[in-house]
């Protein structure tokens, strides 16, 4: 599918185009929409955003490359970003991050073979009183430990399996 002409996004795109003084200001929200459609910010998404905003694709790509929340390559179904910044690290986040990569058998930034999980570390997420924590597809999961994390991984695997079977 595409984002241009896709009824799923039409209203949101119009909202963003209307709220700013210039079209160009809508580049960030539109990149999020492209990422939602394609799973990552691919060339098609860049081209469509550029077309909507009358920008050159290179200008859009430079914005996508500047920010960490736009993914320039495909990620797993669950994109796990573990905060390992100082306050979280004082509460064991480095060990937790290393354990999680081991548990899933991935390197930093890697994705599990079944395409389910991508694990990477990120800078402070403003949840320092609830460390260790991570962000899963942009939603916070806090006060983690190994047991809680194993339960979550099982839950997400089940969710994905149910969705694949059309029962989700």
């Amino acid at each position: 599918m595409a984002i241009i002409g896709n009824p799923k996004y039409a209203e949101r795109i119009d909202h963003h185009l209307a709220k700013y003084e210039t079209k160009r200001s809508a580049v960030m929200p539109l990149l999020f929409i492209a990422q939602e459609e394609y799973g990552w910010v691919n060339a098609e998404g860049i081209d469509e955003v550029a077309q909507i905003l009358n920008l050159d694709p290179t200008q859009v790509k430079s914005i996508a490359g500047f920010y960490t929340m736009y993914s320039e390559r495909p990620k797993g179904k669950y994109w796990l970003q573990v905060c390992t910044d100082l306050p979280c690290a004082l509460k064991g986040a480095d060990d937790f991050h290393a354990w999680l990569k081991d548990e899933l058998g991935v390197e930093e930034g890697g994705t599990t073979k079944d395409g389910m999980f991508t694990v990477e570390h990120v800078m402070c997420l403003a949840a320092c009183d609830k460390a260790p924590m991570l962000q899963c597809n942009f939603h916070y999961v806090e006060n983690l430990d190994q047991d809680k994390m194993r339960e979550l991984l099982a839950k997400w695997r089940l969710e994905a399996a149910q969705a694949a079977n059309g029962r989700g």
Partner: protein
């Protein structure tokens, strides 16, 4: 008494009818009955200073906006990204209408056309909640045309960033909001001037916590606000406490409360009884680290008193470390943060943070020499004051001050 974290006292204050039932929008109503310059005078008289870190007097900032300019904007800095800071998040999650009311009072005071709330991209769920709040407010005549029957029109919008610390710097934030790279601008012109703000129009950029104080100042009066805190640091402040304490959390207390009261009475003291406190970063990764001596513990948390102990209160994101923590490791952690977050525009910061990170890694690996410690101090000192924004200074702080206060922690790694 909570002025800001009222979600802790009043159940469901995040619902509009409950917020209204507890004095919500009395401040805005009062402001709308005054002239814009009278509103600015009240905020000036309150002594409120910016809560994002710089501590600049809020009313003075508003008064810089040229009244004759036809188009003006308010931008709310909700990019909360300083390491150890998680206060704006609680305000927006638990007491969102108070932030919007404060923003509208600011907007009226400078006669702004619109308010843009710039949220860090990770605050995805908060952005959705604020959008719902804005729609409820529009339905009841608090946002949009003819606000509360006053004839004043103002729109409120949210904008999500996408993961870049630098966008908390006001000119980078404005660039990002305009769809350009989130990099700082050359100033002057400053945001408050024509040519320097959002879409080149005069713009006030204020932190979330700053604006959340404003409804109280209008409804209760500047004197009620000034009665809290110290002479130069008025009102309450939210202190974000993290690291090795028993109860990491946000604590809203008067400015001028001592570090001892905060860290022992409120936060419960050291996380492990047998491991006393060693040091703290009182303003996240960007402010100078200080050893937690008795003198420091007895210092009031105010702009003026923190200067006396060689640090800043800044955003009051207090990261506490006990005696087991190696300060070379801390310098490395904080440097990695700034290396990652440097936007790349200014050479001293881009190259400096990169090389500092490399050399500290070498020291931590046991491959460094005593000259390396001198070298990083030298690099850090040469970065400070040479960049367009404060990130270059911030990145120098963790090196300069950890070496100054904890030379043994570095010496241990470089003994041959």
């Amino acid at each position: 008494m909570h002025i800001l974290l009222r979600g802790r006292d009043i159940e469901n204050i995040k619902q509009l009818d409950v917020y209204e039932g507890h004095g919500g929008f009395a401040g805005l109503q009062k402001a709308l009955a005054m002239t814009p310059s009278e509103v600015i005078d009240v905020v000036k008289a309150s002594g409120l200073r910016g809560r994002g870190g710089a501590g600049f007097p809020t009313g003075v900032k508003w008064s810089f906006i040229p009244q004759h300019e036809p188009v003006k904007f308010v931008t709310v800095n909700a990019d909360e990204s300083e390491t150890g800071t998680f206060k704006d998040r609680e305000i927006m999650e638990e007491n969102p209408y108070q932030l919007i009311e404060g923003s509208l009072i600011c907007a009226y005071a400078i006669q702004a056309k619109a308010v843009y709330i710039y949220l860090r991209g990770e605050f995805w769920d908060i952005g959705d909640q604020l959008d719902e709040c804005i729609e409820s407010l529009r339905a009841k005549g608090y946002v949009g045309e003819n606000i509360m029957g006053s004839g004043y029109n103002c729109e409120v919008y949210t904008h999500l960033g996408a993961g870049a610390y630098i966008c908390g710097e006001e000119s980078a934030l404005l660039n990002s909001l305009e769809g350009y790279l989130g990099q700082p601008r050359v100033r002057p012109p400053f945001p408050a001037q024509k040519g320097g703000g959002l879409y080149k129009e005069a713009t006030v950029v204020n932190n979330v916590e700053t604006l959340a104080n404003v409804p109280f100042i209008l409804s209760e009066g500047a004197d009620a606000f000034k009665a809290i805190g110290t002479e130069q640091s008025t009102g309450n402040k939210i202190y974000c406490v993290s690291g090795h304490v028993k109860r990491p959390d946000n604590y809203e207390l008067p400015m001028g409360t001592t570090f001892r009261e905060l860290l022992y009475e409120q936060a419960g003291g050291p996380l492990y009884e047998e491991r006393p406190f060693k040091a703290m970063l009182p303003s996240g990764g960007s402010g100078p680290i200080v050893p937690l001596t008795d003198e420091v513990l007895d210092t009031p948390m105010s702009y003026e008193d923190c200067a006396n102990i060689g640090t800043i209160i800044g955003s009051a994101s207090i990261i506490v470390m006990d005696e087991t923590v190696d300060m070379t490791w801390v310098a490395s952690k904080v440097t990695k943060f700034f290396q990652h977050e440097s936007c790349g525009k200014c050479t001293p910061c881009r190259e400096g943070t990169y090389w500092l990170d490399k050399v500290i890694d070498r020291i931590l690996d046991g491959r460094g020499s005593p000259e390396d410690v001198k070298r990083i101090a030298d690099v850090a000192e040469n970065m400070a004051g040479t960049t367009l924004c404060a990130l270059g200074d911030f990145a120098a702080n963790p090196i300069i001050h950890t070496i100054r206060h904890f030379p043994d922690d570095f010496a241990r790694h470089v003994q041959t």
